[in-house]
Every structure is written in C-alpha cells, then in structure tokens.
Amino acid sequence: MTLLRAMVFIGLAWASFVLLASFEALIPGLSPLPVPAFGLLIVLYLGLAGRATMAPLVAVALAIGYLIDLLSGSPRWLHALTLAIVMVIARGASNRLLVASRWQKALVALVAALGNGALLVVLAAPPEWPTSEVLGLLRVIPSTALVTALLAPFVFALLGRLDRKLAPPPSAFRSVA
C-alpha cells in the first residue's frame, strides 16, 4: 500500500466525518435518524480490495478509527480497535470471498456493520451498566447497519473509481470495486 493511497483514504474518511457532522448540525431533525458508518465502509472496501498486506491496512484502519473517535466524542481508540478488527477480518476474507454484485456488497456491509456495532457496545459499555441500557445501545445497531448496507454499493463504486486512479489494479485483482 502506497503512502499516497493510505493518506487519500484517511483524508477521505476525515472529510466524510466532518461533512456528516456539519450536515447534522445544519439539520437538527436528522439526529434521531440512523447515521451511516462511512468509516466502516472505507475500511471494508480497503480490506476486501486486498491490494495491500495486512499490516499497513490495519494501520490505516487504526488511523480512520482514531479520527472517528476524536470527531464523534467516543472513547479514544474505541473505533480504532473495532475497525482494526474489521480490517483484519475483511482482509483475511478477501482471499476467499468474491464480492461482486450490489447485493453482495450490501450484505457484506450489513453483516460488518452489525458486528462492528455489537463490538462497539461490548467494548464501550462499562460492566456496571444495567442490561436495559446496554440493550438500548444495541437497539440502534440494526437501523444503522441497514442504512450503511444500503449505501455500501454506491460508496464502494465511488471508492473503486478513486482507487483505480491512485493505483491501477493488478491482473490478480480480487477486489470489490
């Protein structure tokens, strides 16, 4: 993975969070609506594209997660950790998994978002929290996952276009783009 590619994707993630935050500040009525996990989609794309070794991809995932943590006000390194785990799984699966159609992309994104959301709750919820509060946090995961899954094919397509400009795909390309 080239440094430029890493920086572009990290920058893209940062820009998407800032835009999303500004958009939500502008339209307060949107806050109860589920917010798509753009960071997760970028990490998923990079992992499934498989155009780099595991270590730099995990580092990029950590950087993206770190930015999400800072900008979203969540405990620092929480998203970093969960996205790093998602990246490991996605990169590992990319050798065996062919994600080509829109439905497949959406399905993969749905599963990843559900898993990532559950992992976030498990890691963020203090042990002393009552079950009802933990369940409350878990309740928002399906809607967020659904929105993320619906956007996944379009986001993957855009990222694929960008990625092709940054680095032409090798012949043994196994990517989702």
């Binding site: 800032v18 950590l62 390194w77 490991v88």
Partner: protein
C-alpha cells in the same frame, strides 16, 4: 523466506491491535485528557466543521429566504385576508359595544324623562354643512310623530323633527341656523335662544338674546329652559366663547353641543305637542 515475512506481518498486526486496546483502557479511565496529536487533529477539524456549517447555514438561509418562498406568498395572502376579516370583525364588535353603551344611556334618559318618548334609529347622516339635518327611522311606526317634536340623545338635545313621512322623519339639528331652542345658563340664570351658526364645521351654535349684563363665561353649561316642548334642564352644550360688545342689549356666546351630532346613532323623540313658533323665537 515466506514464513518469516508472514510471521513478521502477524506480529505487527498483533501489536497494532494491542495498542488501541491499551490506549482504550487509558482513555476510558480519563476521557477528558487529550494528547498533542489529538489536539492537532481537533484544531484542524473544528474550523473546517465550523466553516462547513456556516457555509451550509448560509446556503440554507439563502434557500429559505429567497428561493423557497412560493408557499410563503400564498400564506401571506391568506394571512392578509384573515387579518382583514378579523379587523372588520373587531371593528364590528367595537361598534356594537359602543352602540350598547349608547342605548343604555338612552334608556336611562328615557326613564328620567316624564314625557312619553319613542326611540328611533338614525338612518341618514348630515350630508351638507349648510343644512344640519339627519334622517331617522322610528323603531315603532304606529306612534304619531309630528314636526316640531324634540329629539334627544343620551348626552342631551339633538334637535327637532322637521318633516315626517311614514316611519321616517327628518331632524333639524340644534346646530342648524334655522333651529331655535329656548335655553338657560344655570350658573347665572341667563336665558336666550340657541341657534346654529351657518357654515360651522364643528356643529357649534350661538345663544341669541343673551343679555349683556349677564356674566356668562366660557365653560358655563347650557340647558333647556322647559319652554318650546323640550323638557327642562336637558344638557344642550357648553359655552366656549363669549363676545361682549360695548354697545347694545345683548352679548354673543358660542356653544359647543353636548351631543356629538356628527356621530348620532340612536335618538329619542319626545312625543309632546310642538311649541308655537312665536314662543320659541322671542
């Protein structure tokens, strides 16, 4: 060669995964602490967010204030109509309230008067400054109204019936130059005949035959004398100006009417015999 490289990769990934786990624990313990990198990232991000938000707000304002106004114009028109209707309604209510007050006062006057009276509504206002005549319609048409009968309002004297045609009558106001009403200034006991001032735009009258020796002054009340069909002591008006010349028997006094003759709505007609013309004018 392949295995060490893969092992090295795994070690790096394990370290990369372990790092956030360690930092996360520290972060959960003291969430408010920010390191230098955190501050740098936030310093960069916050102004961008602020800029984007401001820009978005500006676009939103532009849209709401200048572009998305198609329904505002309809709403404005609807509100304008509603406002006009409400204003009309309010004005109607205010008029009704005022009318009620007038009627109550008229009823009180009617009770005070010993003479038989009949109520009438003003249906035609004064249309000329030369002829101070209003048209009235009796509330009960079967009663006989004759020319010369006094007409009163809650505030005092209005004038006399001049013409009668069916349920309608013309009332010659006290401010008409042809009108002549016998009056008294109670403070001095002075007597005179009240006549309208020709061309007066303020419905004013003057008292003729007011003796020069009588010490009347501006502010003195003027009431009916009881001669000429009008009941005694009904308010006629208030002296506003006195002109006393060095010669002659009489002085002039200008009187402002007690009743707002320009805003009459309800009146009482005193069903008394008309006064002889020669008695009214001395």
């Amino acid at each position: 060669m392949q295995l060490p490289r893969r092992a090295r990769e795994l070690v790096i990934v394990a370290i990369l995964l372990a790092l956030p786990l360690l930092f996360l624990r520290a972060s959960v313990k003291s969430p408010s602490e920010l390191n230098a990198l955190d501050r740098v990232v936030l310093r960069i991000s916050s102004p961008v967010e602020t800029g984007l938000t401001s820009c978005g707000r500006w676009i939103g304002d532009l849209w709401h204030r200048y572009v998305a106004l198609w329904n505002v114009s309809d709403e404005n028109a609807r509100l304008r109509d509603e406002n006009a209707k409400l204003r009309t309604e309010l004005s109607r209510f205010e008029q009704a309230a005022h009318h009620n007050t007038e009627l109550e006062a008229l009823l009180a006057l009617r009770k005070d008067l010993s003479s038989q009276t009949v109520a009438a509504r003003v249906v035609g206002a004064v249309v000329s400054s030369q002829f101070r005549v209003v048209r009235i319609r009796l509330d009960r048409g079967e009663l006989e109204v004759k020319p010369g009968m006094p007409v009163l309002a809650s505030g005092g004297v209005v004038g006399r019936i001049e013409r009668v045609y069916g349920p309608y009558s013309d009332v010659l106001l006290a401010s008409d130059p042809k009108s002549a009403i016998d009056v008294v200034v109670p403070r001095t006991g002075s007597r005179g005949v009240l006549k309208g001032i020709p061309g007066s735009t303020r419905y004013r009258s003057r008292i003729d035959y007011l003796l020069r020796k009588d010490e009347v002054a501006a502010g003195d009340q003027v009431v009916t004398s009881g001669i000429g069909g009008f009941p005694r002591d009904l308010p006629v008006g208030k002296i506003v100006e006195v002109t006393r010349r060095n010669f002659g028997l009489y002085q002039d006094a200008e009187v402002e009417p007690a009743v707002e003759l320009g805003k009459l709505r309800q009146v009482l007609v005193v069903l008394a015999p008309p006064p002889p013309a020669e008695k009214a004018e001395r």
